[in-house]
Each structure stands twice: as structure tokens, then as C-alpha cells.
Point group: C3
Chain length 273, copies 3
Amino acid sequence: MLEARLLQGSLLKKTVDAVKDLVNEGNFECSAAGIQLQAMDTSHVCLVTLMLRQDGFEHYRCDRNRTLGISIANLAKVLKCAGNDDVITLRAQDDSDSVTLIFESPKADRISDFDLKLMDIDSEHLGIPETEYSVDVRMPSSDFSRICKDLATIGDTVVVSATKEGIKFSASGDVGTGNITCKHNASVDKPDQATYIDITEPVSLSFALRYLNSFAKAAPLAASVKLCMSADLPVLVDYRIEDIGWVRFYLAPKIDDEEMDVGGGGAEEDDNE
Amino acid sequence: MLEARLLQGSLLKKTVDAVKDLVNEGNFECSAAGIQLQAMDTSHVCLVTLMLRQDGFEHYRCDRNRTLGISIANLAKVLKCAGNDDVITLRAQDDSDSVTLIFESPKADRISDFDLKLMDIDSEHLGIPETEYSVDVRMPSSDFSRICKDLATIGDTVVVSATKEGIKFSASGDVGTGNITCKHNASVDKPDQATYIDITEPVSLSFALRYLNSFAKAAPLAASVKLCMSADLPVLVDYRIEDIGWVRFYLAPKIDDEEMDVGGGGAEEDDNE
Amino acid sequence: MLEARLLQGSLLKKTVDAVKDLVNEGNFECSAAGIQLQAMDTSHVCLVTLMLRQDGFEHYRCDRNRTLGISIANLAKVLKCAGNDDVITLRAQDDSDSVTLIFESPKADRISDFDLKLMDIDSEHLGIPETEYSVDVRMPSSDFSRICKDLATIGDTVVVSATKEGIKFSASGDVGTGNITCKHNASVDKPDQATYIDITEPVSLSFALRYLNSFAKAAPLAASVKLCMSADLPVLVDYRIEDIGWVRFYLAPKIDDEEMDVGGGGAEEDDNE
């Protein structure tokens, strides 16, 4: 028997919304520690992981480890039927072939239950090594979303360059070239609005903007986002879900040398990705 | 001569918006009692009636009974040109082949008049028998709209089951199955937010969700909606327009026995309606 | 060297948005007086001019006259990347083949720079004679937008008739006919909400609504709009940009006599423009 009751049901809605464009279906690993998901996106380019820790639920019971294969698209459809203020409970009997989602309205005058069929999904669990990154940037998640969206009007690829002074996002294309620089800025009224840059070595990496724009859909989950980068390693884009867990995205850098020139010389790209 | 002046012109805008997706054209019967419309929807599945009583108008004059055949689509276009705070006057000379709509802005600094051509429309007036229904449910119109919209993401058909405890809406499809239950709840701050269930006999009926979703477009007219049901009879979905009349929709239940099982056993449906 | 720094960068964003649907590319004439643009729309039917005076900028320097040929579509894309509160600086080195736009966020923690390539654009500068118009109407720009949008649901052509009492906009089509009349009304709380009609001779002219609807996109620039009309002359639709300049549109009247009858007799039109 799995039973997990989340008072702030909107967190689950936002979590699934954050990954549904990248991942069609996934195995939710349920254990005493909580509920985890690890999945490649449909084009097998980036990796998505999410964690909902047991202590973030009002009530959490997981009698034995269980893998729930779920269509994320269908889960998102069902969660659309939950109100933003609803309490959401997940329940799965041992050996059942479905999972039940129960939505209770705040005044308990409306109760909904939805049964989702479970699926058998092939997937292998990747070990993700703990990494000390050369650069950790924490910035407002709305700024990151805005920058990725803006630069996508200029080009398909962004070069992200971090130095002690700031983090620079650059793109170029038919329109011209653009650079957006965010400076380290800890002296703001709200910590969420700060930009912290923690750096051991400057890094400059290129990424496909369309994936970053997909990651940015997680912004409603968290006021700030962390970008972790090291040379030749996938970037980690990390959204912390308050008091319960996280959604993390990993994307390998582009390694075409030509593209690395964008920041300096404004080279044209033929990247139609 | 017909002349009807409505201070709260937005009511007429909303009334026409409530029926325009179902009804392309209709005969507005004007008499000393007020203005009435009865029309089948374009697919001849459901019946729409509306009533605007003479005492709801600031000024109402109807010298002789008159049938105005009007294109609802064109009427809706013209009413889009009226501001939400405008006073609206309908005027038709005896034997004229057009009806004039006059919109006056609140400060009377903008006056618009639109002439709509009248049409000859074949239609027969159905007698609708007064019915004592087994179940009368009054619920917030926004809840009804939300439920119909949510369940339409699950399936094409809804089973509506009313008992003393509550009213349950159920659907099933490829995604899975879902049930939404609203409990009798009279103890709320605003009467409009209450759910009243008045029942002489439990009823369970199936309906095509696409029609209920069309009916639900009348929600801006009224904070609450009344559903009246009896076994084997069309449901009546009734929106009261404050101080002036109503919009009512009638829809026959689906009678496929298989579909009646949804609530109990989660039977699959092949309904592609 | 051209350098122009605009504290209220949103004005530049709105100015370019106001013309971008009509004009694909244009020559911005930069001189000691400021920055000017004159361009025909892509269908060569109407003329657009805009002026940004040097004294409206916080800092303005133009060492020598310069013509910057710019893709308005690309400029609009780049300006989308500027925040509404950003300070915007335009900079072009003498003889450079690009112009740089620099966006500074209010707290100066985010700085963006975009390079736009310059183009060679053929265009001849039209002399626009100073005209004493028979009719000057000043009205709320939102009213003008609303009227053009509303009447476009009725027909393709509007007849604008101005007398001392008011300005009447008329259209007709399959739906029927419509007239919207705005009265002279100077006694309002906010001057922006007034309608002033200054007239030496009544005028009645026909215009293609689709162009007026394009002009109306400039409404965010100014709370009021001025319409200047004389018989047989193009109408001038004039949006004043606070403290810095204007956007002006010129459109020749339609001269088909039949269409001139709309206001009086409700003649049918076959205008599919």
C-alpha cells in the first residue's frame, strides 16, 4: 500500500507541468524515502529527475518499494482537474494495476477521485555522480526564463559564460547578435531576487535553447534556479520545490567549436535544430 | 411597434453569448409578456429556450404580437459592439424587415445604432410540459462549468448520479476513470456558493459532455445553475437571469445500457460523438 | 557617432510596435534634431512617419547626419528583449554597418547589448505639405481603436462624417448596417477622455477599415488620438508620444461614389479588400 497526502496539491500540479513537455511517460520509484522519477526526454538528449521526499507530505506510507509506470501526459490531464487549493492524495494498493488520485476541495464539499492505469515502461536507472562544479549560479527563475525566451528570438544556441563578475548569455542569428549579462548581486531586499555567482574557474559552454526553454517551464515551482556548470560536463538546472524536493534537468553542452565563437566574434550559425 | 429598453445591456450580451454556439438562428416571439425564444440546436439534439420578461426592461412596449426571425450569429456580432455598461434598446416598426439595436454609453457621449435584417425561419413551437422532477440540484454555475470541462478531458460521456448525500459526475476513457462528487452544502457565507440537493428518488443518467459544455457557457449569466432530472427524461439545465428571465437547456439522456455502467465498473466506451 | 539614451525605454518599444505591422523596413534619419522615419506601408497605400526629438532623450549626440536602414521586424524582435522599465541606448559608430541597442535594467544588475545589421533601403523622402484641415477631432485613442475594431465586424469600409455635433462612423455589410456617433464632450474629469471637435466645414470620407485598425495599434503610445480630415485629402491619424515626438499615419479616402452613400441609405458593398 502506497498512500501520500499532499496538503499543497498545487505543488504536484506544477511539478508534473514542469516535466510533461519533455517526458511522455516515466517510472515513479516509491520507497520509504519518498517518490522519485528519472527519465530521458523523448528525444533522448536531456535527463530529468525529480524527488518528492516523504517528509514533505502531510501523511506518507509506503509499505514496500514500488515502481509506478505512469503516462505523464495522462497524469497531467488528471491533475488539471484538481483545483489549485485542493489537497491531493496518491493511493496504490499493492499489486494493483492502477493508481488513484484523490482531490479534496478546501471546504471538503467537493471530492474527486481519478484512476490512472499503470504501464510497463522499460528504463534503466542512470547513476548520476556527485559533482563539484566549477560554477554555481543562483538567479531568479523568472530572469532565467525570460533570458532563454528572449535569446530564442535571436538564435537556436546560447553560449553561457560565467566569470566572477557575472554570467553572460549570448546568441546570434539572422537578426544580429545579442548578449545578456547578469551581475553578481546579493544586496537585494528579497533573497529570491538575488543573483549569486560562486566560481572556482571561468566556464563557457553552448546549449540548445529549445531545451533550456523547456526546463524554464519549471519556474512556477521555485522563485530561484541554480545553474551548475563545469567544462565538458552537462549543465545542471536545478529547481528546488519548497520543503519537499526538486526538479533537476541535465543537458550536455554543444561541442561544435564554431559555435563557441559566438560571444567573441558574432559568427553566423546554420543550426536549425 | 416594439420598443424594449434594457438598462443593464450586458445581460442581453451574455444571454446571446450563452446560446450562440448552439443556435444559428431563431424566432424571437415578442408579446405583451416579453420576448421569448425556443430553438433546437443546429444538430437537433437539445432544446434551448429563453425568456426576457417585460418587467425586466426599463421601458417595454409591444403593440401587437410579433415574430422576429434573427440570425443569432449576426446578433452576437452586433452586440459585441455594445460596451458592457451600455444601455441597449431594441426597436422594430410594425411590418419592418429589420430590427434596430441602439447602444447608449453611460455618459451618453457615444450612441450607436445597428440595423439587423430579419429572416423568415421555419420552426414549430414545442409544448414543454410542466414536470415534477425526481431531483433538483442547485449548485454554483462555475462549479458545474469546471466539472464538465474537467471530465471532457477524460471521456465523451458523463454519468450524473444524484442521491441525498450528493451529486456525482463520472467519466471514463483512455486516460482512466474519474468521479467528482459535490455534497449538499447549504452552510456557506454566500447563498450563491451553496449546493442544494432536493430529491424524491435517486437518479442516474448519462449525457454527452459536449452539450453540457455548451450549456455551461451561460455561466456568466447567473452565479448558480439548477439541474432538474428524472429517469428517462431530458435533463433541464436552468440559468436564471437576474430580475428578468432565464435561459434553459434540455438534453435527452443517452440510453445505451453499457454506458450506464461507468460509475460502477469503469467500463470502456467507444463513444466518439 | 550616434548615441541616444532614452530613460523610458518602453516608449521606443511601443513606437516600434505601433508601426511594425505596416512597415517591414525603413530608413531612420538621424540628425541633430532627432530621429525620424518616413515609410510607405508594404502595400504602398498609407504613409507612416515618426519623430523622436533630441530633447526627449536623456542624452543625445549625433555628430553628423546619418541614415540607418533597419529591418523593423528585427528591431521589434530585439526590443522584445528589453524590459518595460529598462533604459535603452542606441549607438552607431560612424561608418559602422550595424547599430547597437543597449538595455539596462532599473537596478543595473542586468545589461544587454544587441547588434542589428544595417541595410541599404531604397526610399524617397516625400514632402508632406502643411495643411489646414477642415476638421480636427481629438478623441480617446481607446475609443477610436474600439470603434474601428467593432465596425470591422460589420464591413470593410467606414464612412467618417464630422459635423459640429459629433463624428459619426458608419459601416454596412451582410450583417446589416451600423453607425457609431461620438459627441463633442469637453466636460470630463480627465482631459484624455474628452472628445473635441474643431470644424470649419463638415466632411464625410470613406476609408478601408483594415488600415485604420493597423493605425489603432499605436494606442498604447497615447491616451488620445487626433484625426484631421479635409475633403479629398488623406486623413491624418496622429498619436503624440509624451515629451518626445509622434507617430503619424496618412491614408487616402476611397473615392467610389457608391460607398459614400452608406451613411445615408445603407447601400450594400462588395468590397473584399
